[in-house]
Each structure stands twice: as structure tokens, then as C-alpha cells.
């Protein structure tokens, strides 16, 4: 729900080692301004963080008949931050069969996002 008042949000910039602690003023999800950004990249990053923050998704999937019981996986692209847990729930239902090759697709087009979930390691058959 959108708040009907101005809000101040702190964003730590991760674009360079300076790690500027920026304050972003928002009103109804619109960025009004940023404070303490050391450069324009920081301002862009802060706006992206407010409008549509994305994160790398990675997790594990159960393996049947493998030498090890868990397969590590990742998304092919960063995913909307708000969907991280939904993706985790979705892949928690899965069991994959060994052998598995690193880079192979584990879930195609997860939750109709156009993003695939791929294996980040190879697992041999037990």
C-alpha cells in the first residue's frame, strides 16, 4: 500500500568501494530527491533501488540418486526483489534426477518471468 506522505529511505550504494550512505526522499514510490550520493551513478542506483530493485536469485534443489543430496542453482538474470521468496517456494517443490551438468536448465521460464533457473554445479549419479 502506498503511504500518503513523504518518506526517507536509506540506500547503501554498491557501485564502488566508497559505499555512500544515501538518503532518498520518496512520495508514492516516486523519487523526489537523493542526498549524500557521491556521484551520478549513485543517484541512478538509488532510483533503481526504489523503483524496481533486483537481486541475484540462488538456492538449492533436492537431488535424487546423486552423489550429493543438494544441487545449487541460480537465476540466469537478476530477479525482482519482491519475488525472491516466491521463487524459493517454487523450487522447494522440485526434485531433480542425477546426473546433472553445470549450466543445465532446472526450471525453464520460472513463474512466467522469462528467467530460467540453472544448475551451478555438476552432480554425478550415485
Amino acid at each position: 500500500m502506498l503511504k500518503d506522505e513523504k518518506e526517507q529511505v536509506e540506500v547503501i550504494c554498491i557501485q564502488c568501494p566508497m559505499g555512500c550512505r544515501m538518503t532518498v526522499e520518496i512520495y508514492k514510490q516516486e523519487v523526489l530527491g537523493t542526498k549524500n550520493a557521491g556521484c551520478n551513478r549513485g543517484i541512478e542506483y538509488a532510483i533503481g533501488e526504489i523503483r524496481s530493485p533486483v537481486r541475484d536469485f540462488f538456492s538449492t534443489v533436492k537431488v535424487k540418486n546423486g552423489k550429493t543430496p543438494m544441487l545449487s542453482v541460480r537465476s540466469t538474470k537478476p530477479v525482482p526483489k519482491s519475488l525472491l521468496l516466491a521463487y524459493a517456494m517454487e523450487i522447494s517443490k522440485l526434485t531433480v534426477q542425477a546426473p546433472i551438468r553445470i549450466g543445465s536448465i532446472v526450471v525453464k521460464d520460472i513463474l512466467n518471468s522469462g528467467i530460467d533457473i540453472i544448475a551451478t554445479k555438476s552432480i554425478e549419479e550415485a
Partner: protein, 418 residues
């Protein structure tokens, strides 16, 4: 007892060891062997399933298993031998290695060069002496990570994390992603210990960070039931202001210790500041022909730098085996001074450009780093969580001519506040 002679023996098959073995082979060593205690190569990386690896060295954003796969797959391709499930029992200054495993029993290896790449281990509860009961549910972060990402067990539901270093923060995210409630991260220092990109995790998952706090008591009979946390004053002393956090699991992310039992057995000189061998710019230790790289030398913040150190040690090991290693003629000792915890390598020749890695004590903006009396370098920011890399190029080395010892100091105009 069977025996084997080698050009280069590498102890440890993680990021440092695999990079060293590859570099040894590609620099002309004929017989190269990796001895690894675990049942697979890769060290800690197969369990580090998060991204952020390889940004510097490979210019790609990879997960730990993907990063190490790039190196592990080259081991058989290059004809490098390896022994898994094999423990090194002893190492001598004459470069004899005693190994043991299930199939071969005890074996003696003799190598022209040895590369130490044993990595580090985690500081445990015993090393911290946190008072309280001794219930189940206290894990080091790495153990919890292995349980979750390799074995497939989530070791708790209500989690308190002690230590705000990168591993603690990464485990905070893993627990949150597996549906556990992370009740807080407790940090004794007045600033967080991890990289900025990992601090984002706390915001993403609404996890409180308690700076200048200590865990002072562990509660629970069979299983952890809570942790008492005490606020510290500006001198780091307990204020008496306490709070019990209800939890079933305490995760310790309180530091890593280079694993140097073998270095000690071989009589290698260690640096008390790093906990690892003193090395020169070839990554050679105080014992001729024994080299060291990776977290056994000092605890790195990025695996990319471990790989680079491994390559340097491996190349030096191959040259030593071929009788071509150029050792420093005039040794210049780099001594950490004001606000500098340590400097690696500790010894340089001054004859060749070299990158040195310095670990600062406190974060600071507008920092001035001085090396001896004539070199002064400015940095916009320095942080203990991120190694400060200084390029000692030919111009700078000229200013060190004739020195046998120089002090590395850091002073700043402005301290970082969080």
C-alpha cells in the same frame, strides 16, 4: 611405505591450491600433485552458492561452485594429479610430505617445491568463551552453510548471528530465504564487518544490526533457547544494559584462523599479525622451496585475490623446481605501522614491481598511506573489510632504494561513521 618424487606438491585443493597447481604446470613443472583432505576439489567454494565471485579476476558475476569449476575442470585436462580424502600428517623443511588415505595407507612424497594452500578454519565458541549452557544449536557459519547447501538441512528456525562479517551476513540471507526468522546480527565493533554489498542483505530482509553489542550468555538445556546481548560503551566495555533474544540457533561468524600446523612442523616463520607464513614477493616462505598462498597466508575478502596469489605461488614453485627462481637479492621488509594491521608480502626485493595487500584497522575517508619516508598515496576510502591494494611500480620502488625496512602507515582526515 610407497614413495613418490615430484616437481611440485600442492597441499590443499581449494581456490589457492587449484590456481597454484595450474600455474605450476603451465610454467613448466612436469609432475604436479594436489593433496586434498576433502572428498572433492574446490575447498569452501562448492558450498558458497551465492553470487559475487569472479567480478575482478574473470569479469563475470558467478556463484562459488561456478567459479571453482573453471579451475577444477582444468586439473585433469592439464594432466595434474590429485589425491582426495588424503590427509597430510607431516611436512619437513626438506620438503618431504607424509600423507595418509584409505587406499594407499601412509605415503611419502618428495617434492622440489611445495605450495602450502591449506586455507583457514573458523573461530569457534570455545575460542570466544561465551558463558552459558552447552545446548545444541550453536554452529559456526561455515558449518551451517555446509549443512544447508551441501547436506540439505536447515539447522534452525529462529536465528541469531554473532558477527557482521561477510559470512555471517551471507548466512543471514540464506536462513531468511529458507523461511527461518533471523532475529538479529550482533557486532562487537562500532561499524559492520562485511562488504557494503552484503550489508544490503540486512535491509532486504529487515534484519536488525546491533553494533557495539556482545553476546554474553547462551541459554537453553537441550537446545538453544535464547542469547543474552549486552550493549557496550565506547571503550568496548559492557554497560550492563542487557536483552535476551529468543532463538533456537546461534550462528558464529567471528573470524577465520589460517591453518598453519604443517607450516609450524616445517619450521616456517609465521607473522603473528596475519597468523600465516611470512612470504616474499615470490610467495616463498622462510624455508627455501616452500611457497604459500591464499587464506593460509592471510584471510582474503575476495576469492579473486586468492586465485591471483595461487598463480604467483605456483609459477614460483615451477621456477624453483627448474632452478630458475629469482630470489630477492636486497630484501626490503614492509612493517605495518599506524592503523595498518598487516601487509603481505612482508618482504620485497625492490627490483620488480609488485602489488602489496594491506589490511587497515579502522575505516577512514580521505586516507593517506605512506610507505617509508618518500612514498605517499591517497585513497578516497579505506575499510578493514576490503583489502587495500597498493601498486609498487618502478617509480615508487626507486624511492625505496637502499632501504632494508620501511613502515607502512595510514592516516586520515575523516573517520567513517555508519
Amino acid at each position: 611405505m610407497s614413495e613418490q618424487n615430484l616437481d611440485v606438491a600442492v597441499i590443499g585443493g581449494g581456490a589457492a591450491g587449484t590456481a597454484a597447481a595450474i600455474a605450476a604446470k603451465t610454467n613448466g613443472a612436469d609432475s604436479v600433485l594436489i593433496v586434498e583432505r576433502n572428498e572433492e576439489l574446490g575447498g569452501i567454494l562448492p558450498q558458497c552458492i551465492h553470487t559475487g565471485f569472479g567480478l575482478h579476476y574473470l569479469k563475470e558475476n558467478l556463484t562459488g561452485p561456478e567459479y571453482i569449476d573453471r579451475f577444477v575442470k582444468r586439473i585433469p585436462e592439464l594432466g595434474i594429479e590429485h589425491k582426495l580424502g588424503t590427509m597430510v600428517l607431516d611436512l619437513t623443511s626438506r620438503k618431504e610430505i607424509l600423507t595418509i588415505n584409505r587406499n594407499e595407507g601412509v605415503q611419502r612424497l618428495r617434492a622440489s617445491s611445495v605450495v602450502l594452500a591449506m586455507g583457514c578454519r573458523e573461530r569457534s565458541r570455545g575460542a570466544l568463551s561465551i558463558p552459558g549452557t552447552r545446548p545444541a544449536g550453536v554452529f559456526t557459519a561455515g558449518t551451517a552453510q555446509r549443512l544447508m547447501d551441501i547436506e540439505g538441512y536447515v539447522p534452525g528456525k529462529k536465528i541469531v548471528i554473532l558477527g557482521s562479517g561477510d559470512i555471517g551476513l551471507i548466512m543471514a540471507r540464506r536462513f531468511a530465504m529458507e523461511g527461518a526468522k533471523v532475529k538479529g546480527v550482533i557486532e562487537v565493533m562500532p561499524y559492520p564487518g562485511g562488504l557494503d554489498r552484503n550489508l544490503q542483505i540486512l535491509k532486504d530482509f529487515d534484519i536488525p544490526l546491533y553494533l557495539r553489542h556482545a553476546a554474553t550468555f547462551v541459554h537453553g538445556k537441550n537446545r538453544v533457547e535464547g542469547v543474552t546481548m549486552c550493549k557496550l560503551d565506547e571503550n568496548g566495555q559492557p554497560t550492563g544494559e542487557e536483552e535476551i533474544i529468543d532463538c533456537d540457533t546461534l550462528i558464529l561468524s567471528v573470524g577465520l584462523i589460517p591453518e598453519n600446523e604443517l607450516s609450524n612442523r616445517a619450521g616456517i616463520n609465521l607473522d603473528p599479525r596475519t597468523g600465516g607464513p611470512i612470504v616474499d614477493e615470490n610467495m616463498e616462505t622462510s624455508v627455501e622451496g616452500i611457497f604459500a598462498c591464499g587464506n593460509v597466508v592471510h584471510v582474503h575478502d575476495l576469492v579473486d585475490h586468492v586465485t591471483i596469489a595461487g598463480e604467483k605461488a605456483g609459477a614460483s614453485a615451477a621456477k624453483n623446481a627448474g632452478g630458475e627462481l629469482q630470489r630477492p637479492v636486497n630484501k626490503i621488509q614492509l612493517i605495518p605501522g599506524k592503523n595498518v594491521r598487516y601487509v603481505v608480502p612482508q618482504i620485497i626485493s625492490g627490483a620488480r614491481p609488485v602489488e602489496i595487500y594491506a589490511r587497515m584497522r579502522e575505516p577512514a575517508y580521505d586516507a593517506k598511506i605512506t610507505i617509508g619516508e618518500h612514498i605517499s598515496i591517497r585513497r578516497r576510502v579505506v575499510k578493514p573489510a576490503e583489502t587495500t591494494i597498493i601498486d609498487l611500480n618502478e617509480d615508487r620502488l626507486k624511492k625505496l632504494e637502499g632501504s632494508s625496512q620501511v613502515i607502512v602507515d595510514m592516516t586520515s582526515q575523516e573517520a567513517v561513521t555508519c
